[in-house]
């Protein structure tokens, strides 16, 4: 074996031959490694930044959402013979009572028009229950009974794991816009003193941001979860004034201040200034929203239809106006006013009797009031996935929120008694907008909980998941909630596994590419090898020279890969870090506005591992050509070269 310094001197000459090929090989075989080096920087930079921001925000909490499986089975429930029998009794009782009251009030009551709870047997010969107001309580009781297994399992899990807190949420938009569920009131945005199309709730279906998103996105959430998003000097404590504390989406907060959304091309400095302005000015800002019950909403719709009818027919001869005409009030959030009433005294008397009849059987009078909300916190808007970019990719990892929309502390639920029927649904697992959450003490415990207790089954194998999961004693689907903290914690190890597996696959590809160059250099050097052998080089000396050469080639590819990967990372960082910083400041509600987000990160294990794998790939590429070269007869090579 010759001295390493001498082997280095001789192998260095190999690098000087076929330089163009060397450059092409370095670039081509290093390209995938460039991607890996960039990915390592991106991942570690992002993780480090997220963890730093998480110190302020919501990111370091380990909350798991618990969704039930195996709760009430509506089909079984609605075909239950005992329930059908009870529903028939309830229907009969209702009709009987209505007959009595109708007779008492002297009005006509037609029992055949009554919405009954049991529909007659169809082609399958089975009767079934439909959920009418009169059987709602009956069905609720049955559902609670069916949910018992789930709630028992919840209690058991709390004993088995280090659950520090249990939280709950209730989405007040349980079935679309607030109020679309029977007897649940509707929220109507007031802008410039006017209601925004009260009565046409469809307009809110797709409002994802701004104040207009409130009617479709209001959720009650346990206070300890929401506290993370409080603005400085704000609390959830309510007084007797009726003002309701609320955590608003960022764009809605801007809107309440009369600030338009900044253009997408705005500079980071402008966005940071805007963030500072919003945080300082919106804290404690109040705004009103009109709350109308179903009866009020129906009267608004009636007034709207009548006014439209009058306008349409105003020049039509022979058109007879209705005896009773309503119009909307000039003021927001008021009941309709009577514009014309030419009804006879008898008609008025009959109408009053009918209203009394309806009132006795649960119909509400029209009711509306202005709710005053006070902004005490800000959450990020849902991410805007506007195409693929590194910024969007990293932005999607910035998660420290509760979903999207508006959040009220659970402690303020009494300020909205109109939604009480929804609050009572929390002991059911049928409504997926209701949530149960466990906060666990640490990421390992959270992962253990999810791993051990989240029901998994093979969809292809068939069977009823609810039954299978109940039988396993794990009637849950468990998922991380509120932040990516568990996922990021998993990602750290998951990324490295993926990273090194990818690196090994790429190493094989690169080894093949490098083999071309190494093979060519070695085969070009047959004569030189023969000369070295003639002047006394042992086979091992020759091997040593070429091994060192491929080692150096590997080092060059590694330097190129890591250098270029980090160069790209720095360029991307320069272009997107400022924007990500703003996003992170909003998402994590950071009080320290001087924090910066960087996607440039360094993980020694990954980078040095990558360098090692690249060098190994180089050495691997040399094995075949070298073995072949060493087996050759130097005389023949010298003769062939002539």
């Amino acid at each position: 074996m010759i001295r390493m310094s001498d082997a280095f001197t001789l192998s260095l000459t190999k690098l000087k031959t076929r330089r163009v090929r060397l450059i092409v090989t370095t670039v081509v075989s290093g390209l995938f490694f460039v991607v890996l080096a960039f990915a390592s920087s991106l991942f570690n930079g992002t993780i480090t930044s997220v963890e730093e921001f998480s110190d302020d925000g919501f990111g370091s909490r380990y909350i798991t959402r618990v969704d039930g499986i195996g709760g009430p089975n509506d089909y079984l429930l609605y075909e239950d013979k005992d329930l059908i029998a009870q529903a028939k009794i309830i229907d009969a009782d209702l009709i009987a009572r209505k007959k009595v009251v109708a007779k008492e009030l002297g009005i006509t009551y037609e029992p055949t028009l009554e919405q009954i709870s049991v529909f007659p047997a169809g082609p399958n010969g089975k009767e079934g229950i439909q959920e009418t107001p009169q059987v709602k309580e009956l069905l609720r009781g049955a559902k609670i009974e069916q949910s018992k297994g789930f709630f028992d399992a919840i209690e058991k899990a709390k004993d088995e794991y280090d659950v520090t807190q249990q939280y709950q949420s209730v989405a007040l938009n349980s079935n679309g816009p607030v109020g679309s569920t029977a007897n649940i009131p509707t929220l109507v945005v007031i802008k410039d003193g006017k209601e925004q199309n009260a009565g046409d709730s469809s307009q809110y279906q797709y409002a994802a941001t701004g104040i207009a998103s409130l009617p479709v996105g209001l959720t009650l959430m346990s206070d300890p979860v929401l506290e993370t998003f409080l603005l400085p000097d704000q609390t959830f404590i309510t007084d007797y004034s009726g003002v309701i504390p609320i955590v608003a989406p960022y764009t809605a907060a801007e809107e309440t201040l009369g600030l338009g959304k900044l253009p997408a091309t705005s500079s980071s400095e402008t966005r940071l200034e805007r963030l500072k302005e919003v945080r300082s000015k919106v804290s404690g800002k109040t705004f009103g929203i009109c709350l109308r019950n179903q009866a009020s909403l129906e009267r608004q719709q009636l007034a709207e239809q009548q006014q439209l009818e009058l306008e349409t027919n105003k020049n039509k001869k022979g058109y007879i106006k209705p005896d009773l005409v309503y119009e909307k009030s000039a003021s927001a959030c008021q009941d309709v006013v009577v514009q014309r009433d030419v009804r006879s005294a008898q008609t008025k008397k009959d109408t009053a009797k009918q209203e009394e009849f309806d009132r006795r059987f649960g119909k509400q009078d029209a009711s509306q009031r202005i709710l005053t909300f006070k902004i005490v916190g800000i959450v990020a808007d849902p991410p805007d996935f506007g195409g693929f970019s590194v910024k969007n990719l990293v932005g999607s990892l910035l998660t420290s929120n509760l979903g999207s929309g508006w959040f009220m502390p659970f402690s303020a639920k009494d300020k909205l008694p109109e939604f009480a029927p929804l609050y009572s649904d929390v002991d059911l697992i049928t409504n997926y907008n209701n949530g149960i959450y466990f906060e666990l003490s640490n990421p390992e415990e959270a992962k253990r909980f999810v791993k051990e207790k989240s029901c998994s089954f093979d969809f292809l194998s068939g069977g009823d998941p609810s039954v299978l999961c109940q039988e396993k004693g794990t009637p849950f689907f468990l998922s991380s909630f509120g932040s990516n903290s568990i996922a990021l914690n998993d990602a750290k190890t998951g990324f490295q596994k993926f990273y090194f597996r990818a690196a090994l696959v790429i190493a094989l590809i690169s080894a093949v590419i490098m083999m071309g160059t190494v093979g060519k250099v070695i085969s070009d050097s047959r004569r030189e090898t023969a000369v070295f052998r003639a002047i006394g080089a042992k086979r091992f000396d020759i091997a040593q020279i070429y091994i060192l050469y491929t080692f150096m080639l590997g080092v060059i590819v590694a330097l190129f890969s890591v250098g270029t990967g980090y160069l790209i990372a720095y360029i991307v960082n320069a272009r997107s870090a400022a924007g990500l910083t703003i996003d992170a400041l909003i998402v994590y509600n950071s009080s320290n506005l001087d924090r910066t987000f960087s996607i440039v990160g360094f993980n020694g294990k990954e980078i040095f591992g990558l360098v090692g794998i690249i060098i190994l790939a180089g050495l691997l590429s040399a094995v075949g050509p070298l073995v072949s070269n060493l087996k050759r007869n130097p005389i023949r090579d010298m003769r062939d070269e002539r």
Partner: protein
């Protein structure tokens, strides 16, 4: 000793009789006879190359080709031998067997009292490194190493200390009048300079024998004669045995002895 700056005796003659080829040839012959007369009185050392009934058979496809046929030789220490013959006569094969680059099919070969046909691959490498100095037709210098480092290469394989190697390289470069080219790359040297460098490289480990395979085949006449004279000087200076393969009878006449080969046999 010849150099680019110092004229060889042949050059002196060429200048003296410029334009008259008959006079040149006559003067050259007189000069060679004078040298031979001097050589014939030389005292050689012990035998360094002894072959007995040496044969080498190559297989080309199904055919067997006898490259060497019963060659028996005895070459002494300090002898300057030229092996001549037409192409395919077996002279290079003989050189390769002496240089331990190949093994005989039959017969024996002893180089510096060692039966090299029985040495292992590793021992043969060491033997070539320490005992033999090779000089090739195409020089085979490392194109990206300067002259000094090129001269050091055999020393590298011998694990000679760097300082010692460098000192020897400088001394050898001086011996072949290349002291002022030590930092030059081979492509900055002329053909003659490259071959002189190759000879200096061959001397790095102070070998007993220099084997030169058509060392002048890639040079013009002037440099060819200069190289042949340089071998003579090397032999005189280091008492090295020099065995040169050449097909050029005139160049061969510069050696002490000429071994003529034909069809794998020594014919004279």
């Amino acid at each position: 000793m010849s150099s680019e700056n110092q004229s060889t005796p042949e050059e002196v003659l060429l200048k003296k009789y410029a334009g008259n080829i008959d006079e040149i040839m006559s003067a050259l012959t007189a000069l060679q006879n004078k040298k031979k007369a001097s050589k014939n009185n030389r005292q050689y050392g012990d035998s360094v190359v002894v072959t007995s009934n040496l044969s080498k058979i190559y297989k080309v496809g199904k055919q067997k080709i006898k490259a060497l046929d019963n060659v028996s030789l005895d070459i002494k220490q300090g002898e300057y031998v030229a092996i001549t013959g037409a192409s395919g006569s077996g002279k290079s094969t003989l050189l390769q067997l002496i240089g331990a680059l190949d093994k005989p099919s039959e017969g024996s070969i002893e180089v510096v009292t060692k039966d090299i046909s029985k040495l292992s691959d590793r021992a043969l490498s060491k033997f070539r490194n320490q005992t033999i100095g090779f000089v090739f037709q195409f020089f085979y210098l490392q194109p990206f190493l300067n002259l000094k480092t090129n001269l050091e290469v055999p020393g590298m394989f011998a694990r000679t200390k760097r300082k010692e190697r460098q000192k020897t390289a400088e001394s050898l470069a001086s011996s072949v009048s290349l002291s002022d080219r030590l930092t030059h790359l081979p492509n900055e040297l002329s053909g003659g300079q490259m071959q002189r460098a190759a000879i200096a490289r061959a001397l790095m480990n102070k070998p007993n024998i220099i084997l030169a395979d058509e060392p002048t085949g890639n040079l013009d006449r002037k440099n060819a004669f200069a190289i042949m004279d340089l071998f003579d000087t090397v032999r005189d200076t280091f008492n090295t045995t020099v065995i040169v393969v050449t097909h050029d009878a005139e160049l061969a006449s510069r050696a002490d002895r000429e071994i003529k080969m034909q069809d794998g046999r020594v014919v004279s």
